[in-house]
Structures are given as C-alpha cells and as structure tokens.
C-alpha cells in the first residue's frame, strides 16, 4: 500500500506569520557535529522507523533563503526500498583536487564527499553516529550511470546533473569551477543518489552499493562485470537506423511524448533564463534611485529626510533580486532533471525498438527458411534464388543431395524456432519490466513537476510580498517628504 505522508506547505511571510495555505514539516537531519562546511545540508530521505512501509515525503517550500539555500524541492513519492531502510545517504561537500589525468597532464577537478550512515543511529537520542565517507568525482558518477544504463536497459535511469552549465543568464556563471555551480551540482548529485536509492530495482544493485561504500577498487569492480560488452550493443541500438514493421503503439507514443517534452522544457528553460535576466535589470536600475535621492537630499531642507530614507529602500529593493533569482534556479534545476530524464526514456524506447526489430528479423528469417524447405520438398520455386534458377537451367540435383539439404534446413528451422521463442520471451520480459518502470516514472514525474510548479508559485508569492513591503516603506518615506 502506498501511503503518502505528505503534510502541508508552509510559507513564511517576511513580516507577519500567515497561517499557511499549506505547511510542510521539513525534515532536516541535524548535521553531524564534525561537519564544518559552510554548505548547509540538503535533505535526506529517511525511512520511517514506524511499522509501515512508508517513506516520509519531504516537501520543502520554505522560502526564507536564510535557511538552507540548497533545499531541493523534492517530493519523492517512492515505495520504501530496502536500501533506504538500511542507510541514509548524502553528498555533503565538494572539494578541489589536482592530479594527473589520463594524458598525464595536471588538472583541477572537483570531488564530492559521499556520506552514508546506518539508518538506526539517528533514532537514538543524542548525536547520531559519525557517517562513513568517501570521495567521488563526477566522472565516477558517470561511470556508475553508464553501467546502470547498460545493465538495466528497461529501466528509466535517473539522470545526472549537467556537466556544463546550460541555460545561463548573464549573471549566472558558466564556469564549472564557479562555487555556485559546484554547489548546485552537489545538490544534483545527491538527488541522483537518492533517486537510485529509492528505485525498487536499481537500489538493489551491488555495484551501486559498492559505489556508496567502497572508495578503492570500485572502478575495477565495475569493469569486472563486463558491462562494456553490453555497452556496445546499447550503442548499436542508439545509433542504428532500422525500421520496425509493427511498432508497439505504446512505445511509439511514449517516444513522441518524450521528444515533445524535451523540446518544450528546453524552450521553457531558455525563456525563463531571459525573463530572469530582464527582471534582474529592472531591479538593479532602482539602485540608481538610491544614489540620486541621496545626492538630492543633500540640497533639500524639508524634503531631505524623506528622500534619503526612500533612497535606502530603493537600494534594498535592488539588492533583493539576487536571492530571488537564486531560489528560482532551484526551480530551473527541477525542470532540467526532467529534461534529462527524457533522454533516458528515449533510450528505453529505442532499446525496445531494437528488440522488436531483432524479433521481427528472427521471425522473418524463420519463415524464409520454412518456405525454402517447403519449396525443396514440393519442388516448386516460389522464392527466386540463383541456385533455384541455375538448377532449373542446368539440371536438377540428385535425390540424395535434396534430402540432405532438407535435413540441414530442418535443423536450422529448429534453431530458428528456439531463437524466436527466446527473442519473444526476451521481448515480453522487456516490455513488462519497462512498462512497470514507465508507470512508476509517470507517477513520480507528475507528482514532482506538480510540486515544482507549486513551489514556483510560492517563490513568486514571496517575491510579491517583498515588493509590497519595500514599496510600502518607500511610500511612507515619500509621505514624509
């Protein structure tokens, strides 16, 4: 039974406390004492220690950015997984390293600290036990994901946060080493791990478990699985141009949907970035009022005080846009995650197409062989073949030769039938597993995006409230002019 412990969304009006339309209990795990990082922790999903199979859904819409600015608005409606019951996972910090890369050149790269902690330790009173930690760099995350893509071709594997900053507007840095970008990526990586950990199938994967627990030797373990071989076939499926005669309508529809979704989210992100840019301009220009009013107030007697204080409010107004837009980046990140998800959806569809194609090929091959056999037996040539023509022209085969051919064909037909049966089973299994995951994904997507839209509305509300406050204050000051 799926139970959603989903409480309320609580937003705090800067000056007054309003009974919220919604309010949420935001679960923040107390940071472990040894964490000295300035980065606030984002949330962890914690398994309910209660009797049921539920996972607490945490929906953070607290808009005061003084609290954690890293809170991803994550509503993961997940079924409880065994992994999550065992441990808490977080990506706590980011750090810079320098080292030699594959071409033996010095490079600077970022590493991320993964912390895991046995779940039981938190429910005790007092400080929780110190977590196990290890460091991973982005390329290792990529390796993990590639492995999962290959090993579970029917699963929509959660995407990684972007490698390079896209959809930036002018204030936002496109530099990979920029601390804001690193921070947002840290949050994205944590989200990635949590998505994996809450996935009914992927959470049970051993390589994933080792990724979280074994710093050394993990790479070797991955390579040992031999997933590289399967990787080739996957590449083939992605790039091949083949036509399926009887495509599965559901998969076709899904593929088109994911293409549409990809297009529309990209467009949305692009325009949103432009809107953010323009809004930034509007707010920042008001700082000029602050400067001019201040200068003007110096030459006025009665009007001076009012002007001066109004000017200060203009400065406040201009400065407020930074936090506002920073928060909106979280919304953009949520949309981006689903933009990247569409890739994963498409690759499942294409994998299915490949299987379908192979199935059709196998069936076609079999029926061709059967026809051949029939022809040989009855002597009729229905299928044109060079051999058939030449034998017609240059004489028949002997009875003996014909019988041995038939025998060979029967063998081949038998193999073909086995192969077809296997392919059929493979296809059915794939379709079943895939649709299972697709339905799970759709549910997740709908809940997540809905929450994202709601949190966007909350951000807008917060922005409006700040605006009301500043301009009301300014109006008071103008009144005193």
């Amino acid at each position: 039974m799926l139970c959603i412990s989903y409480n309320f969304i609580h937003y705090v009006k800067p000056s007054l406390e309003l009974p919220g339309l919604f309010s949420v209990v935001r679960m923040r795990i107390a940071s472990s004492a040894d964490s000295s990082s300035n980065n606030s922790r984002s949330q962890m999903i914690m398994a309910d220690s209660g009797s049921s199979d539920e996972v607490a859904v945490i929906c953070n819409t607290d808009i005061t950015s003084t609290e954690s600015e890293n809170n991803l608005i994550n509503t993961m409606v997940e079924r409880g997984t065994a992994l999550l019951k065992k441990m808490e996972i977080s990506v706590a910090e980011a750090d810079k390293r320098t080292g030699k890369n594959t071409v033996n050149m010095q490079e600077t790269y970022t590493v991320y600290l993964i912390e895991t902690r046995p779940a039981e330790s938190v429910s005790e009173e007092g400080t929780p036990a110190a977590p196990d930690t290890l460091w991973r760099r982005y390329s290792e995350f990529e390796l993990l994901r590639t492995y999962l893509l290959v090993t579970y071709p029917y699963i929509i594997v959660p995407p990684l946060p972007e490698k390079r900053a896209e959809f930036v507007w002018h204030k936002l840095s496109a530099d990979n080493l920029d601390p804001d970008f690193v921070e947002r990526r840290r949050v994205g990586l944590e989200n990635f791990l949590l998505r994996l950990a809450s996935h009914p199938v992927l959470s049970n994967d051993n390589i994933f478990f080792l990724f979280l627990t074994e710093e050394k030797g993990w790479r070797e373990a991955v390579l040992e699985t031999g997933f590289q071989d399967k990787a080739d076939s996957r590449l083939k499926s992605l790039s091949a141009m083949f036509r399926v005669k009887n495509p599965d309508k559901r998969f076709t529809a899904l593929k088109h949907y994911s293409e549409d979704l990809s297009t529309v989210i990209s467009q949305l992100l692009r325009i949103r970035a432009r809107v953010a840019d323009r809004l930034y301009g509007v707010y920042k220009v008001h700082a000029n009022y602050g400067r001019v009013f201040s200068e003007w107030s110096a030459i006025e007697k009665e009007m001076g005080d009012g002007l001066q204080s109004a000017g200060h409010h203009m400065d406040t107004y201009a400065a407020s846009i930074d936090d506002i837009l920073e928060e909106e980046e979280h919304y953009a990140d949520q949309l981006k995650e689903y933009l990247f998800y569409t890739e994963a959806v498409r690759s499942v569809c294409r994998k299915h197409e490949l299987i379908q194609y192979e199935l059709e090929m196998a069936a076609q091959d079999l029926s061709y062989k059967k026809q051949q056999k029939e022809e040989l037996e009855t002597g009729t040539v229905r299928i044109f073949s060079l051999k058939g023509m030449t034998s017609k022209l240059f004489g028949q085969e002997t009875q003996e030769q014909r019988e041995s051919k038939v025998a060979a064909l029967e063998q081949s037909i038998q193999e073909g039938e086995d192969a077809l049966k296997e392919k059929n089973a493979e296809s059915q299994e794939f379709v079943e597993k895939a649709w299972n995951d697709i339905e799970r994904f759709n549910e997740q997507k709908e809940k997540d995006l809905r929450e994202a839209l709601i949190s966007y509305a909350i951000m807008q509300i917060s922005m409006c409230k700040k605006g009301i406050q500043v301009w009301s204050n300014a109006k008071e000051c103008f009144n005193k002019m």
Binding site: L268, R278, L279, W296, I299, A310, L453, A457, I461, K475
Partner: protein, 439 residues
C-alpha cells in the same frame, strides 16, 4: 465661494480629474495658510495681491481660484501652407476683470509660446511653469502622433492652470487676452516687437560680460541650489526612463514565457491543469506590468520632465534678475563718473551749469528707476521662490507617492493571482489524497 476645495459642481467640468497634482496642490496650500481670513470676492483678493507682494507666502494658500481653464479637444488644421493642431481653451471665471463668465477659444502651440514670452517680459523674475517642448527628438518622429498630442495637451492644460493659480500672473493683461480673444493674431503684433526684444537681449549680453559687482548672499545660494536641482532632476528623469525601458523588455519576455506553459500543457494529462494555471498567472502578471509601465509614463515621467524644464526656467529667471541688477549697476557707475565731471565743469565754466544739472538730474532719475526695478525684481523673485518651492515639493512628493502606491498595487495584484493558483492546487491535492487513500 470657499477656496478650500474645488467646488463640487464645477470640479466635474473644469479640472481634468486626472490632474491629481493640481487638486493636491490646492489642499496642501490651504493647510499651509495661516491666519489669513478667506477673502470673499475674487476682486478683493486680486487687489490685495497687487498691493501686498510681501505676504505672498501666506496668501498663496488662501488664494481663491476664480479662473478655471481647461485645454482639450485637439484638432488638426490643414491649410495650403502648413498643418497644425489647435486646442480648445475653455475658461470659466467669476473674476470682475473679465466681461463675461465663460469663454471658449482655439489656440495653437505658437499662441502659448507668445503668452509665455509676454509674461516673461512683463514679469522677468517670476517663475513661470514651463511649456512642453516644441518637439521631442528622441522617440517620436511624428508631430501628430496621438500620444504626443495627448501628452502635450495635458502639459498645456497644466501650464494655463498654473498661471491661473498664480496671484500675480493671473492678473496679466496678456493672459486675459489669450483666454478671451477670438483671434490672437492682431494682439500678437502689438507690444514690444522683435527689435525691442533684440536690444534687450543685447543689453543683457553686454551686462553679463561686465559681471555683477556684488550679489546678495541669498541669490548666490539660490543660484547654487538651482544648478544642483537641475542636475538632480535630469538624473532622476534619466533613471526613470531607464526603468521604463527595462520594464518594457521584461514585459516582452513575459509575453513569450506564459504561452510556453500552455504549449506544454497540450502534451500532458494530469499536469495540464497546473501548467495552464501557471501560464495564466504569468499572463495576468504581464498585463499588470503593462499597467505599471503606463502609470509611470503618465504620472511620474511628465512631472519629472516638467521639473527638468522648470530648472531651466529658474536658471533663466536668475539670469534676468542678474541682468536687471547689472543694468542698474552700469547706469549707477555712469552717474558716479558724471558727477566728478560735473564738479570739474562747475569749476571751469559756470555758464553751462544748468544744462549739466539737468542732465545729471535726468541720469539720477534713471538710476533711481533702475534701483526700484532691482528692488521689485528681487522681491518678486523672493516671493515667487518660496511659492515655487512649495509647489515643487508638493508635485514631486505626490508623483512619487503615486508611483510607490502603484507599485504596491502591482505586487498586491500579482500576489492575489499566484495565491489563487496555489489555492486551486491545494484543492487538487486534497482530492488526490482522498482518492489515493480510498484506493
């Protein structure tokens, strides 16, 4: 007739009710008035003002507005030579100087220019509200663009009303002629013509080259203020125009942003509804932004612009005052050198004493006249200065308050839009929860 508020029966017709500034100036001024009993008749008030220039600061609050002017109904006139716009000027008055109580004439921009220069000539050190500019080079190419005409009409309306409000200017003969005569052309030919204006300008130039002997401290302070004020007004005006520009660009982007949500909604099922919700919120907000921009353009920008022009007016007034003083000083010096000549002449020739005496006397009279003129000019400026400061403060204050209020209103409207979306989603989620629990 009470002067505290605009009489209700007339207000609907007379004053353009958009012009809050005018109304507020009144109410501000009456609250400033202290002690003076409300005069009963316009005539008595007018006479009082003619005599008592010193009391202007007090009495400007008590002024009874007895001339009500509207400028409206622009029409274009096409003739063989030119095309121009005329405006209808309607006057209603109880002032006894006027033969009738209602007048309606048509005037073109040139006529307003004429009036202004006449007033400047007769009252060189009074601060006359600026006229809108001849043409705006920046954005509008067409002189007959509707927005341009409307902006100009409003400014012309304010111009005439400021004169009607002014205790001294409202009694000007030229003002009366402007408001009442059907044809202005014959009157434009009368009065000091082009040549006399030229000579005046040249005298002024000569005097400015010479420079002033001494300037009263108060006018030096005034001059410094005027220069600073001019700078500040230009800056505020520039910033405001920049804000409008940024707002417009923001609004343009918003107009593309909203539809994207609707587009997305087309490929979704359960998500379609919240997506459309967000899309329509964005659209509503972009409409509010449009209104916000319009308000800025209609309230704050014209006010700031007028005070930029005012600053130029002030500079001109200060120049004229300086010129009057310079003229006096020049004549005064001439007299002084004459006197020593006279003494020498007396010493040498007793015969031409009478002529010399007469000449000196004449010069002395001229110097005395100029001294009076300086005195008058300074007093006029002093009185009008505080009057101008008060109305400047009131105008700018009210424009800024109005802008801030509009911004608060804008955010409140957007807040309501987003909150109602949130409310609708809460209803949704409640349903879903009930549905989920039930299943």
């Amino acid at each position: 007739m009470s002067g505290a508020t605009v009489p209700a029966d007339i207000s609907g017709h007379m004053l353009d009710l958009d012009e809050d500034e005018d109304l507020e100036v009144f109410s501000k001024n009456t609250s400033l008035a202290d002690g003076n009993p409300m005069p009963n008749s316009p005539d008595s008030m007018v006479n009082q003002f003619r005599l008592d220039e010193e009391n202007e600061e007090e009495q400007q609050g008590a002024i009874n507005k007895d001339i009500f002017v509207t400028v409206d109904n622009p029409e274009s006139h096409i003739s063989a030579i030119e095309t121009f716009i005329t405006y209808r000027v309607v006057t209603r008055t109880t002032c006894s100087e006027f033969d009738s109580s209602e007048y309606e004439v048509r005037r073109r921009y040139q006529d307003f220019l004429w009036l202004k220069s006449r007033l400047e000539e007769n009252y060189p050190t009074l601060i006359i509200h600026p006229l809108p500019e001849k043409f705006v080079m920046k954005s509008m190419v067409e002189r007959f663009n509707d927005d341009f005409i409307e902006t100009r009409r409003k400014a012309l309306h304010r111009f005439l009303n400021r004169i009607a409000d002014h205790p001294i200017l409202s009694c000007s003969h030229h003002f009366k002629v402007f408001l009442t005569e059907e044809e202005l052309a014959p009157h434009r030919k009368l009065g000091p013509g082009f040549l006399s204006r030229m000579s005046e300008t040249m005298r002024a130039m000569a005097n400015s080259v010479r420079g002033l002997r001494s300037k009263l401290e108060e006018f030096a302070v005034m001059q410094a203020y005027v220069d600073d004020f001019s700078n500040k007004m230009c800056s505020v005006d520039k910033v405001t125009n920049r804000i409008i520009k940024e707002h417009r660009e923001y609004m343009d982007e918003l107009k593309q942003y909203g539809p994207t949500y609707f587009q997305w909604a087309e490929s979704e099922e359960l998500l379609a509804e919240p997506l459309k919700g967000v899309g329509s919120c964005v659209e509503r907000c972009s409409k509010e932004t449009e209104e916000q921009i319009q308000h800025l353009s209609e309230v704050l920008v014209p006010t700031l612009h007028e005070y930029v022009l005012c600053a130029d007016t002030l500079k001109a007034v200060m120049r004229r005052r300086d010129n009057i003083q310079a003229e006096f000083e020049a004549k005064n010096e001439a007299l002084a050198s004459r006197t020593t000549d006279k003494e020498m002449a007396v010493a040498t020739a007793t015969g031409g004493l009478n002529d010399k005496e007469r000449e000196s006397k004449k010069l002395q009279e001229e110097v005395d006249d100029l001294a009076d003129r300086v005195e008058q000019a300074n007093n006029a400026l002093r009185g009008d200065w505080s009057r101008w400061r008060t109305s400047m403060r009131a105008d700018l204050k009210s424009a800024f308050i109005s802008t801030a209020a509009k911004n608060v209103d804008y955010y409140e409207k957007c807040l309501a839009v987003w909150e109602s979306f949130l409310l609708s989603q809460r209803g949704e989620s409640m349903e879903q929860r009930n549905g989920a629990d039930a299943s």
